[in-house]
Subunit: 368 residues, 2 copies
């Protein structure tokens, strides 16, 4: 496993060297974990000239086997109180004879950046831009396997909830119960705050659960995900409460389902991100819901729940094989509610069977 | 209520004017909420020359009555996708004739800071440093009332847990149950990830719950808090599982209790933060636990769970009346476990009865 991290660091080093920096300082926690295996206590990674060093404020917790720093890295645990590992790492870079250090300007605050500059004045600070985020886009099979297990856990948690009585329970309680079930089934924790939306709240993207209770006739939309060994997946489904959905509910559901299917079916290596977005969006658009549309119809997932690529009308770039993304169009009608359907899939070539669906809970409209 | 926010903004404006800036851009979410009443969707606050504007990417959610933007503020909801409210606010500042804009350099990333500079080139960007954080240190009675209710909720959740059977249950499940109870009793949510630590984990600061089960003879340390109307409190207690604690457990508990009491009793307006820290720390130090000591023995709480002031050996500054702080010394013995005792208190003058204890769960050593 250790080799994986060394290979990733080599790829980053090549990018840095190509842009004229002899060393890099990685501070964004997900990036540190990607390159080091773990990011204990505000750790930063120095990709040095002579040696790579993981600098952390506290020693790593060695009780979690799959969250330990790569043993090939030198571990530098700070002494003293309140110091910034990034500043300490810059001093180590100077000691290694580094002259130009590439830093994550999209993560470091202005104040931290200045502290690094002032603590290590011979260093010239350059930017590493989103180099690590770019490396993270295409996943290896081990990473995809973590996402797959996370998706199974989310499917299980959701499936159990559907077997219980829902009417009369609040959005908050249903969300908490889902999160408990995620942990029951082996998740590190929820991948993001679980969203449960009932009645007029249903279909609102990013809805935070309230004390509203589930009622007969409601739409109920649920969005949850598990974190498994650091990897985060996402599933969203919408149900109807009661014996029979109303006509407008069936129509709206079928429409969002068609949009989501169009998005899923357009996932392929080489497909433009904006074309995937358009495939889903135009189904809703042509039915007259242009106003009600969300800003994105999907996004990458991995060590963070919202990664590159983004499926939006203005997105640049194309999909590659082995990129996990969500496809999650939805419509919310103010005062009435709405529908969201959200899957996590891995882009795969046609020869391998096309997009791999990780979240397999049914997308039939269930009346609960 | 609206006046409270206007008064706070006036105080910040006075500080900015004193340092030569005609306007300020507040981006740290807790600071935006403090000055505006709410921080919807990445909102930033422009404290302008002619008008104050809350700039947000999405319209505020008006369903939560105590989390709405101050109506005295102009609300500017962005159109389009993916824009940065901070960049938009800088353009509004230019339109108001602002020449020098003070920004939160300790919150803005280097990349965002550059985007603001490039989008509004006539603006000279200066720093507002921690001005809003400083304003937030001393709370008004309405803020303290929110903390008091949050503390009551945490006490209730903890009290109910103590009445249930604990042996055989995992740290994770106990933590989830506590969080469910916090919400049951009216919390917005947990104030921070609930920590439940058993046996050798007990007493570790910031311990993340594992699958270890509670066993007879364990120390069990629990740290939790409620968020109520945005305000976050904290309580930590340590218990013994079984009929009778061992001698070493009683000794260690009494020692930490004495240290915590010494810290509490030294809270007073005008007391130096480092003296409060020393009062608690020297009890543990003189018993030979210098090595096992945490970096801080307490910190401020409010809209964030970790605010100024910090009770550490190197802390500058003194306490004021109406400053809520935690007092939370602890000792962790690797392989054996340990004790933490953590209260949230409000600094009050002697004439008002001295420090006000918000978290009132007993600190007797309970055998459960």
């Amino acid at each position: 496993m250790s080799e994986v991290y060394a290979v990733r660091r080599t790829r980053l080093r090549e990018r840095c060297n190509a842009s004229g920096s002899t060393a890099a300082l990685v501070s964004r926690p997900a990036n540190v974990r990607y390159l080091s295996g773990a990011a204990p206590g505000n750790a930063v990674l120095l990709l040095g000239r002579t040696e790579d060093v993981l600098v952390c404020a506290q020693p790593p917790d060695d009780r979690v086997p799959h969250n330990r720093p790569d043993e090939a890295l030198r571990l530098h645990v700070m002494t003293g109180i309140g110091g910034d590992p990034a500043v300490e790492a810059a001093a180590l870079a100077v000691a290694q004879g580094v002259d130009a250090l590439a830093v994550e300007e999209h993560h470091l605050t202005v104040t931290r950046h200045r502290a690094i500059r002032e603590a290590a004045p011979p260093l010239r600070l350059t930017g590493v831009a989103g180099a690590v985020e770019q490396l993270r886009v295409v996943k290896d099979e081990e990473e995809i396997s973590c996402l797959r297990i996370g998706a199974e856990i989310a499917d299980q948690a959701l499936g159990e909830l559907l077997e219980s009585i829902l009417v009369g329970r609040t959005e908050r309680h249903l969300a908490l119960e889902l999160e408990r079930r995620l942990v029951d089934h082996g998740a590190d924790g929820p991948a993001f705050p679980t969203s449960v939306a009932t009645g007029p709240n249903a279909g609102r993207p990013g809805h935070r659960p309230t004390d509203r209770r589930v009622e007969e006739g409601d739409f109920l939309s649920v969005c949850l995900g598990a974190t498994y060994r650091g990897y985060r997946c996402e599933i969203g489904r919408t149900f109807v409460i009661g014996t029979a959905p109303a006509d407008w509910q069936i129509e709206l559901y079928d429409l969002v389902f068609s949009a989501q299917r169009a998005g899923r079916e357009s996932l392929a290596p080489g497909a433009a991100c904006r074309d995937v977005d358009r495939a889903a969006r135009q189904v809703l658009d042509s039915a007259g819901y242009a106003e009600a549309l969300p800003v994105l119809t999907g996004h990458g997932v991995g060590l963070e729940i919202d990664e590159d690529p983004h499926l939006t009308p203005a997105a640049m770039g194309k999909l590659d094989a082995c990129v996990p993304v969500t496809v999650e169009p939805g419509v919310h009608l103010p005062g009435r509610g709405g529908v969201r359907i959200d899957d996590t899939l891995v882009v795969r070539p046609e020869a391998d069977g096309g997009p791999e669906l990780l979240t397999i809970t049914t997308k039939e409209l269930l009346a609960l």
